[in-house]
Symmetry: C2
Subunit: 220 residues, 2 copies
DNA sequence: TTAAGACGTGAATAGAAATTCACAAGACGA
DNA sequence: TCGTCTTGTGAATTTCTATTCACGTCTTAA
């Protein structure tokens, strides 16, 4: 039986690829398995994509598109840094629930399997959020809402680190295990609490009104 | 020429394995290449180790041992949370400089290539630090040095997330790229600044004396 | 209705790498 | 010095999978 591939089928194939890449990583994922999972033959994959690598890139692009949509729906309004953070965390938690394999694939792509692709991918994936977060934080600083001596780039970097690890901890085996070592529960059982505590942490980290700066270097 | 393997040679072989695993990940690393890199024949690898997986585990064990040594030398004293953090950051930055391939291998091990190993490894690797950090933070909380409503487990988790990303950002290609997107420089060019800013971030996050808790949930 | 062209199929090919094993080289006791 | 045991060697085997290609099926235009 031979069916011309529809637009939806093509999306399905990408989704199958994302799932497999997320489960096994670029190196260990078999094109034959992807085809089987998508219910097509291997050959057709090579009609649409040059090779495994470009298929992988297409999967990543699709995934980026969906994440960007989620994010841009989330951060439109004029909001305070923390309101923004709260919405972001919520959105990412939802994204983890709905597209865990996307996050897993994203994690795989940071590993050495995709070494040659790193430079381009990092730029494409992180570029948007980096500018976004740095901008938000810089604005907050200029408005005097966070400490004046904070470096916006690095603070944005720390902020994104926390969000990224949040996602990995929800979706990736190793990090799920690690989470449960810290918290004795699976992340999906305490989504609200995680969100609340992360907000507290960020709230403290970002808030400026301290009377007493802790004395780090007073020795024993 | 045939030389009986010495204790040092065995360590060298593990070090070669760590380097290869760090560069290519578990799946893409070839036992033949490891042997060549270590200057021995493949066969002998299989005399000492059951298969690739157990060799990988031996490499990880060696790496854990060295990290544990670094950490236990670092956190012995009775110190404040932030002093402790500062020492930790310094120690980890040094560790990154001296053993980048260990960090790379650690990162590879969190990816799906080592899926079956995840549970055991996570426990072994994270168990110690998790208890350590949670303990330090819990103590600080009981002494009233950080906000009372903080969950020690989650705060320790966030703390470790930041430290872990710091290491990846120094040693792993993708994360190095990502770092430079945020900060427009390579991490080794601004080690001191990173340390200082991360301390500020943590200092703020952990410090308790705030008059005004930011109003997160007041709506628009 | 039909024939050319377009597209999907999946068995076959080729290459890479894990693992094995028959053999060789040193160690050691007599 | 000799024979045996231990241990390292690396070519050969096996397995896995990316990629190809000769073929069959559908579409479509006349």
């Amino acid at each position: 039986m031979l069916r011309r591939l529809t637009e939806e089928k093509l999306e399905e194939i990408l989704e199958a690829g994302i799932a497999e890449f997320g489960e096994h990583g670029l190196a260990r994922t078999s094109m034959n398995k992807i085809a089987a999972r998508a219910g097509i033959s291997v050959g057709v994959l090579y009609k649409y994509y040059e090779d495994k690598e470009s298929f992988f890139l297409a999967c990543v692009k699709k995934s980026i598109r969906e994440l960007d949509r989620t994010l841009s729906e989330t951060i439109q309004k004029e909001e305070s840094l923390l309101q923004c953070a709260e919405r972001l965390i919520e959105a990412l938690q939802r994204h983890c629930r709905e597209h865990p394999s996307h996050i897993r694939m994203y994690h795989e792509l940071t590993s050495s399997g995709a070494a040659e692709l790193s430079p381009g991918l990092a730029q494409e994936i992180e570029g948007v959020t980096a500018r976004l977060y740095s901008g938000i934080i810089d604005k907050a600083r200029q408005e005097g809402r966070i400490r004046q001596d904070a470096d916006p780039g690095l603070f944005a970097f720390f902020f994104d680190n926390l969000l990224m690890m949040l996602q990995f901890s929800c979706c990736c085996d190793y990090y799920r295990e690690r989470f449960s070592i810290y918290c004795h529960a699976a992340p999906e059982e305490m989504e609200a609490q995680i969100r609340a505590e992360l907000l507290k942490f960020l709230e403290s980290a970002f808030t400026v009104d301290k009377e007493h700066i802790i004395h780090t270097n007073q020795g024993e």
